[in-house]
Chain length 437, copies 2
């Protein structure tokens, strides 16, 4: 928790909308007090932007203003050689803390936690505890609201809160007021798991422990709000068929954005080229019954839409921890029924459409019933297939240690398009064989 958050709404707006040069000169034009406070509120990316344009004397000032976890985040933005130099600018205790944090990836608990938390011994009295917490509160502990009770070996024995301490009788022992059933996380747990723990248990802080239940740090809920937003943003962007942008839409450079988008779009395009092969394979049939091609876009897009729905629902449920890898069979059973029902609905509408159009406009010729049945049967099949593959692909992704969110809407659509064409013309051969084909 940053200690003193204030508005600076207009400054934040300015920061989001201008170029690097404008931001730097605006920053330098602020009073020192404003600069101090505003700097701490800035995102890591913007803090790094400022730091990297200052001389070493000023760099020291701003770096030392940061809590160890924020300093570690900033250093992770820096290139390898700058990182060592920045580390030297920190005071000794902070440097040790930051180095400990830098051991962990940015997106695991160890990389998000603060190493400065409030601690007490179990045999202290409440009044001793209050004095001791007050002393720690004057220093730079991240939060004084969650207080951890440790033994001499840093083992986490219990947790209490300033509120409990504050409302307990002074002579009581800490060990008698502390809670011992504690929600903890491991340094290696990813931040998605952390955010689930916060959401489920309505906590204000979670202690992070190593394999021997020794406390390593603490993650506070206010830091997790950003994490939850970020994780959702990354998932959404991947599900929409691009790489995660990693920066606000208007702030990322145009070339940066194109790089994130062109890759997947090209991969999908190359995959989708298989549809041209599939179509070419049936060129003879198409030439004989051109009417079949009229329904190609309708059919493949229906499969794609059904697949999008299913994959989106499953990917999100996985991210929220509602679905575990072992649930694939339950999901398959559900989606088998869903796909069949949805397919029958669209199939029925498709059949109606062909029949009605024939009565109204005589579009499809004497074999319109057979055409209707071909379209309708294919729709049932492709919606079922789209639903099934859309819902199971995220499981496969996770099994392969890939991000399930990469089973994006366009990816599923592409898969279904190619196979859907084969299905359509195969059904047509059976239903229209000897009549039109």
């Amino acid at each position: 928790m940053r200690s003193n958050p204030t508005m600076y709404a207009d400054l934040h707006q300015f920061w989001a909308e201008t170029s690097c040069e404008d931001r730097l000169s605006r920053f330098q034009s602020l009073t020192l007090a404003d600069r101090q406070e505003f700097f701490q509120q800035l995102s890591t990316r913007h803090q790094f932007e400022i730091i990297s344009h200052l001389d070493e004397g000023e760099q020291t000032i701003w770096l030392r203003l940061l809590d160890p976890d924020d300093a570690a985040d900033l250093l992770q933005e820096a290139a390898e050689r700058d990182r060592a130099r920045f580390l030297q600018l920190l005071d000794d205790t902070t440097r040790d803390d930051v180095q400990a944090l830098l051991k962990y990836r940015e997106d695991v608990a160890g990389g998000v936690m603060s190493t400065r938390f409030c601690r007490l011994r179990p045999d202290m009295t409440v009044s001793e505890g209050l004095t001791y917490v007050r002393k720690q509160a004057l220093e730079t502990v991240e939060t004084v609201y969650a207080i951890y009770v440790l033994d001499a070996g840093q083992q986490l024995l219990g947790v209490t809160s300033l509120r409990t301490l504050f409302t307990s009788e002074p002579p009581m022992k800490i060990q008698d007021i502390m809670r011992t059933n504690i929600v903890t996380a491991s340094v290696e747990d990813d931040q998605e798991k952390l955010s689930r723990l916060f959401a489920e248990h309505d906590l204000i802080a979670i202690p992070i422990v190593d394999g021997q239940n020794r406390i390593q740090g603490v993650v506070t809920v206010d830091d997790i709000v950003d994490v939850v937003q970020e994780e959702a943003t990354e998932d959404i962007q991947k599900m929409g068929g691009s790489q995660a942008l990693g920066a606000p839409y208007l702030e990322i450079s145009l070339t940066g954005m194109l790089k994130k988008r062109a890759g997947w779009l090209t991969v999908l395009f190359v995959g989708e080229m298989l549809t041209a092969n599939a179509m070419a394979h049936y060129e003879v049939e198409i030439a004989k019954a051109v009417v079949l091609t009229l329904f190609v876009p309708l059919i493949i897009s229906s499969g794609g839409n059904a697949g999008s729905q299913a994959s989106t629902l499953v990917i999100r449920a996985m991210a929220l921890g509602e679905l575990q890898p072992t649930d694939w069979f339950r999901v398959m059973k559900r989606e088998l029924i869903s796909g069949a029902v949805l397919g029958c609905i669209l199939g029925a509408i498709g059949l109606l459409r062909v029949v009605i159009w024939e009565y109204a406009f005589h579009t499809y010729g004497p074999h319109y019933w057979r055409i209707g049945i071909t379209v309708s049967a294919t729709l049932v099949g492709i919606v079922l297939w789209g639903t099934l593959s859309g819902s199971l692909l995220p499981f496969l992704m996770r099994r392969l240690n890939l991000d399930p969110a990469s089973a994006s809407t366009p990816f599923v659509a592409t898969l279904v398009d190619v196979t859907g064409l084969v299905l359509y013309f195969s059904v047509a051969k059976v239903v229209l064989g000897g009549v039109m084909l």
Copy 2:
């Protein structure tokens, strides 16, 4: 903040996986103490499920266990006539609080806030303040960590924290230690805005005020983590082309889920039927140049993919507050360039593909260059068009007071499919006219 969150991990698991009857009998089998604590941890939906199966005596016990904001959430699940009856079961003060909260929609600040917050007068000393906060902490205030300084008319003058109070000199006045630049929200602000404020300013609580700056309640960050998750889930599900499920994937009934999915899928299907009309319009051309149909799936899906990317990025940026309605022109300029570049990349690959295939397999006949140019030019156009419409549709949605997230991937794809076909055959007529058509 619920005061004493504990694990019950196995119980929560059980709750997520069984039927209503099993849950109820399991609940009744717990000790009273466990029931009390576990009940407070349950989601509103599950709390309501239990309450609605108990007799009035028991209903009173469980309802009175809840904080006013949680009770208000629960009552919003109930039917109109039950709501009045449940209200009568509450004690008088809570009933007043709950009735005040029920005036607001569930998804605005007024509906999320707690009415029990910690307050002080500006002319108190720090030591008086501590005594007074201690008294309030023993009651049911939501949080004692954010403390609001009010005048006699409930006007919000400043804010301080238990930490500041705790570390200030006892004779100082509250008005001398309080901060006066405060981040507030209005009762009518929607929860998406609240979550942005929390994420931007790293706050632990935000006071909610009315039009006259009188404090109405407080929202704490731990309640917002759930909100952020929920909002993202709703957006993701809509963007995937279904209605928001409103319940975990495995918990929603199969018919419930089908209802949420069939609607949009049918609408999209009916919209997509226009592709059959568009194709029929060009039936003569297709019959003359069957080769053209081979690229139909490739072309329309490329437009759809480009549109998905753009709409996803814009919808998310809007939800995060990075894009305002007035930004549409800036977005249009960006996407015009992005679309053109991405279109040229895919167009070039498309052209190469036709030429290489012709050299390798002699697939496309003597006019392969013209076919290549038709495919390639259409790709540039459709990717540009998909990108533009995908990025601007969310702005249009918001203008029409609809949820931008409803400009879903499949919705954009459908739009682009129909128009893309018209574009393709129009380009073909120009390039191949007099030669093949």
